[in-house]
């Protein structure tokens, strides 16, 4: 089996892919997320975001003070459409014209 080093296992983003993105000129966490897909899978970055941050700082691409996480979008825990439906206050009951 080919040895591969993963930074984001949800989306199968390897260290090589991060390095390729960096070589293409990306150094911003939001840019790298979008280009590689890192942090967009089921865990939403819980496993990979800080690993990416450490890597960017270790390579001198950004200072720790300037480093920002990507937006922590809801939900941070899984939630079903079924449970959410209970909170609706303006359900369209009947089709209106």
């Amino acid at each position: 089996m080919t040895a591969r080093t993963f930074v984001c296992r949800c989306e199968d983003v390897t260290l090589t892919e991060i390095e390729r993105a960096i070589a293409a000129g990306l150094s911003d966490v939001e840019e790298i997320k979008r280009y590689t897909g890192l942090g967009t899978g089921p865990c939403q970055g819980k496993e990979c975001l800080s690993a990416l941050g450490r890597l960017l700082v270790a390579r001198g691409l950004i200072s720790p003070a300037a480093l920002r996480p990507f937006t922590a979008r809801p939900p941070v825990e899984p939630v079903t459409f079924g449970a959410l439906a209970a909170g609706a206050t303006e359900v369209p009951e009947d089709p209106s014209p």
Partner: protein
């Protein structure tokens, strides 16, 4: 083929779960993940792109690779799902016994660049997109919608504590002792929360999934039964701990590569004992402590050339040429604080060297600050001042050792009680709407 067990049970197994057709013995207190690992079943899915086998890793509900189908519901976290008698658990995205990894390795030796993969000619591009679509996605559609009707519960607690781990429980106990028992919300189910110090007012199996400052509420939910909780507390204590980030090592995704902390906690919670060779990879006092707990040899990440194995981890090859044979590899990285809810609540976020954390004072009080996203920063100005005070304890407040964690809890409890004394709750507080 039956596999060698890796975790000894605390007593005779009294439960059975169905895993991919086979019967797996389990004990009360087991999660699906602990029962599977105990039975040597380490792989639960194949990955999205490289089609590699994956299994339970963080053992803490924080990663995305232990997702299994449970009784017809896709993408359930094996590490947070308690075992029930005769539950039907299936792997996902595996295509039976086929092993496509070798093919992928041969064709994509240097990796898959999905943006530039088979762009030309157009006809090949269309075929590739069709294949990619079939390979993508994890679970299949659920068998059926939930049988129970969903319901909505509103809460107006004086103090809400998010997380019933060590720091959350200690803080809740300190507040309760002073006459202010908080509402504690914990994503793990009650079955996984044994212990004498459980808070009296506890919502277990309920995950706080967001803070919506503009709507002045926090939202939480459980899946079964489907319940949505809206919480409007006066004080919020984040006792949410930390994530275990991955350590970038070759083959760090093999089934059997788990979090050292997750494994230690799982053993404590289930009463199971290790019956396997474990190598801990990590540096510093915390890694040393975890290696001691797991009675494992420890090596630093820099010593490791790669992890060995194909369908599961079998050893650690070191840069000095030695090979350490093992059944499980336990990663002990510096933990990364679970900053997400704090960020949603408007906390200023900084990089600590290990990960991201909210800026808080010595008592754990978090002041509001600008949002991180360049285009979303404007929102911080449009949000009304929050109706709650936000606090952090434990690892989120920068503590790493048990003593430091106790310190953050003690200081936060004292400051919070002062704040409650200075500004007593209105009469209708702590009522459930």
């Amino acid at each position: 083929m039956p596999k060698a067990p890796l975790l000894a049970p605390p007593g005779p197994p009294t439960l059975t779960l169905r895993w991919d057709g086979a019967a797996i013995p389990a004990c009360p207190g087991d999660t699906v993940a602990s029962a599977l690992i105990a039975a040597g079943e380490l792989a639960t899915s194949r990955s999205a792109k490289y089609r590699r086998l994956r299994g339970p890793a963080c053992l803490h509900g924080g990663c995305g690779t232990c997702l299994v189908r449970v009784d017809g519901r896709p993408n359930q976290r094996a590490c947070l799902t308690p075992v029930r008698e005769d539950m039907f658990v299936e792997p996902q995205n595996t295509y039976g016994g086929l092993d496509p990894t070798a093919l992928v390795d041969q064709v994509f030796r240097r990796g898959i660049d999905h943006h530039h993969l088979v762009v030309y000619p157009r006809i090949a591009n269309q075929v590739m997109q069709g294949v990619a679509r079939e390979l993508a996605g994890f679970g299949e559609l659920p068998d059926a919608p939930p049988a129970e009707a969903a319901c909505l519960i509103d809460h107006v607690p004086e103090v809400m504590v998010i997380g019933a781990g060590r720091s959350g429980r200690a803080l809740a106990a300190a507040l309760a002792a002073a006459g202010h028992p908080p509402l504690v919300v914990e994503r793990r189910p009650a079955a996984a929360l044994a212990g004498p110090d459980l808070p009296t007012d506890l919502l277990a199996g309920v995950g706080v999934f967001a803070c919506y400052p503009h709507e002045r509420l926090w939202a939480a939910a459980s899946e079964q039964p489907p319940v949505l909780h809206r919480l409007r507390p006066r004080h919020v204590v984040l006792a949410v701990g930390a994530h275990e980030p991955t350590i970038p090592l070759a083959n760090n995704d093999l089934p059997g590569v788990v979090s050292a902390r997750g494994l230690a906690d799982m053993l404590e919670q289930t009463g199971r004992r290790l019956d396997a060779r474990v190598v801990v990879i990590g540096e510093g006092a915390r890694a040393e402590l975890l290696a001691g707990t797991l009675a494992a040899e420890r090596v630093a990440p820099a010593q490791v050339r790669k992890l060995l194995g194909a369908r599961r981890v079998k050893g650690v090859q070191l840069v000095d040429g030695r090979t350490l044979r093992c059944d499980l590899v336990a990663l002990a990285p510096d933990p990364a604080p679970a900053f997400e809810l704090a960020a949603q609540a408007g906390a200023p976020i900084q990089f600590t060297g290990a990960g991201f954390a909210p800026v808080c004072d010595a008592d754990g009080r978090i002041a509001a600050g600008p949002a991180a996203h360049p285009l979303e920063a404007a929102d911080a100005q449009t949000a009304p001042p929050p109706p709650w005070t936000l606090w952090a304890v434990g690892e989120l407040a920068g503590a790493t050792t048990p003593a430091e964690i106790r310190g953050t809890v003690a200081r936060c409890a004292a400051a919070l009680l002062r704040a409650l004394a200075d500004s007593p709750a209105p009469k209708d507080s702590h009522a459930r709407a």
